[in-house]
Assembly symmetry: C2
Homo-oligomer: 359 residues x 2
């Protein structure tokens, strides 16, 4: 994309790679794992909360460091589905749009929605290029095993996102095969949106392949936070994108169960905040959130990639920002400071935010 198409404001417009730099600086401890009388393990990390002009209003650690956003940007990838007109053309409803933004746990509630959606556009699970894995949901995984069945692509936590890609391919009038490749029009159209939202030229960014096969571009954490702020409040974006952002936010707010599943962190936070915190987990300790009421975006990365820490740290940031008030937080204590029980059920410790980092 030409430079003049980049939106104004925001952090660096140039990509900064950390590839060849030794990481000598240290991010602070964000999360502590307590067992008995001692902190047993510690998770370091960094986070940035940005407004729509890219100002960092709260942070910890080196938020200029590159991260792969992983699944935490599914809501941004889903914008292409809406902006392209595909969502309207193929009658994509809130449940479907929410599952396109999801790392779902493969319950029937999820797979049935994806399957019906695929059937409506003349596709099936066989067209999904995400690979298969057992449902994250234990009950669903065990049911599958008990039935002597194997995991299918529909159970993949990314199957909704991939259904969105296939729908977009249809709308673009291109062959669906290979829709996960860097050069495929589906991924190129998403790349353009990510560049505009993050304020980055991602063509020279470090690249990788995601767990579900699609392209990943690294970006400084602060730019990821800016992109999420723009999802929350796309005031400086084209009208078509503003409408798409609203539709994605509304779908996630209306269908939190589709975004993850019963008992999962993202689902419970979205539900408890009635969409004031649209949180989304990513692999390797990444978390993002759009905070529509505040017009802010959050991006967070645990250095070591642990989800148990990214969740607790995200909860602590939401507490600090007041998105989770005291009463709501009390009801979510099992997510904010999870208890650790041993195999016999005895309480042996807890996971807690390292308070100084969230000061």
């Amino acid at each position: 994309m030409p430079d003049d198409a980049l939106p104004p404001g925001g952090p660096s417009m140039e990509h900064r790679s950390n590839q060849s730099q030794a990481v000598t600086d240290n991010n602070p401890v964000l999360v502590e794992v307590v067992r008995g009388e001692m902190v047993e393990s510690r998770h370091r990390g960094t986070f940035a909360v940005a407004d729509v002009e890219g100002r960092i209003v709260l942070s910890a650690g080196d938020f200029e460091r590159d991260v792969y956003p992983r699944s935490a940007i599914k809501p941004l990838q889903a914008l292409a589905l809406v902006e392209s007109g595909a969502a309207d053309a193929f009658n994509v409803d809130d449940k479907e749009l929410a599952v396109a933004c999801a790392s779902h746990q493969g319950d029937a509630a999820h797979t049935e929605v994806v399957q019906a959606w695929l059937a409506r556009i003349g596709r099936s699970g066989d067209d999904l290029e995400c690979g298969a894995h057992l449902p994250y949901g234990e009950a669903s995984a065990h049911a599958l095993i008990r039935a002597g069945k194997s995991a299918e692509t529909l159970h993949n936590n990314c199957s909704g996102k991939h259904a969105g890609f296939l729908t977009l391919a249809k709308q673009l009038g291109v062959a669906p095969k290979g829709y996960i490749k860097f050069e495929h029009p589906v991924q190129q159209s998403i790349l353009g949106i990510l560049e505009m939202l993050s304020g980055l030229d991602l063509r020279s960014a470090p690249r990788a392949i995601d767990g579900c096969g699609i392209p990943q571009y690294a970006m400084p954490l602060e730019n990821l936070a800016l992109a999420m702020a723009r999802l929350a409040d796309p005031v400086d974006q084209p009208e078509r994108r503003q409408a798409a952002c609203a539709r994605v936010r509304d779908a996630m707010t209306a269908e939190p169960l589709m975004v993850a599943g019963t008992g999962r962190f993202c689902t419970q936070i979205i539900e408890a905040t009635a969409g004031r915190a649209l949180v989304k987990t990513g692999a390797e300790g990444v978390f993002c959130a759009a905070l529509p009421e505040l017009g802010l975006g959050l991006a967070l990365k645990i250095d070591d990639g642990a989800t148990r820490a990214s969740q607790v740290a995200t909860g602590a940031v939401l507490r600090r920002l007041g998105v989770l008030d005291d009463e709501t937080a009390q009801g979510l204590s099992h997510l904010l400071t999870p208890e650790l029980h041993n195999r016999a059920g005895t309480l042996v410790g807890e996971i807690r935010p390292a308070e100084p980092a969230f000061g």
Copy 2:
């Protein structure tokens, strides 16, 4: 135990607690997780390789920091079973002794040995106080689920260790019930052995309850390394303990499959080195090893508790020490620098040692 009973040499004889100290220092990055063109995640940690006089011959990071040894000291806990005379009195064979040192994966090979052992001493799985969890081994777990059965205490990765505790209780002539409690004679006799091997008075050490319900005492990592060096070469220990150490080493060497299971890190390393590296994993990123030929002990802790990192870092230390030669290392590359594949089977990255830390 009186001070004059503590063995000579070794690091600090006094327990140093890090409870009330802020952790401001930083351990080095030991392991990097690479995805595509960039290091995506980093694991910090510390390790110490000690000789039997407590001299640290190789290290990284703050090896004076307290750690809970977790399951990595099962071979030390098994010494009580032998020293007490229980192993002889109840005809405990190599397989049983090895499974007492194990975090096994709950295959029939493991549960059958534990079940037969318990039956021989007039006990059963009902007497095990470790709680139940699905076998770590995927095939065994799925077989159980397919059969519509629940996990039993026998499947608990610690069931062999607990069978050892029940055997010890019988030998001591005490009631088995509550054998996991801090004050129970079984745990007290193990505490005495840990104190002599580590050179520490553990009565004032930070305490916790382990995943399987038994006492955990924190100790500086360097003392844990010393204890493992003494398992490797118990030259300064009482004769009875020297014999017990030899028997435990021999059992682990003869029956590596019982120490973990098919395909697991500990089993493969012990097998490949024919017992020159008696490695044992522990929860929360702990690893220990006794290196009999070198008369050295290794203790290692990943700050954030990740097993994927403790394994790779342990492999790197063994490489550095020459315990794994080039040819052996080549055959174990899947453990030393594991490839990362996505759900569709594409190679997307690897986990590798951060070389400078192992200089």
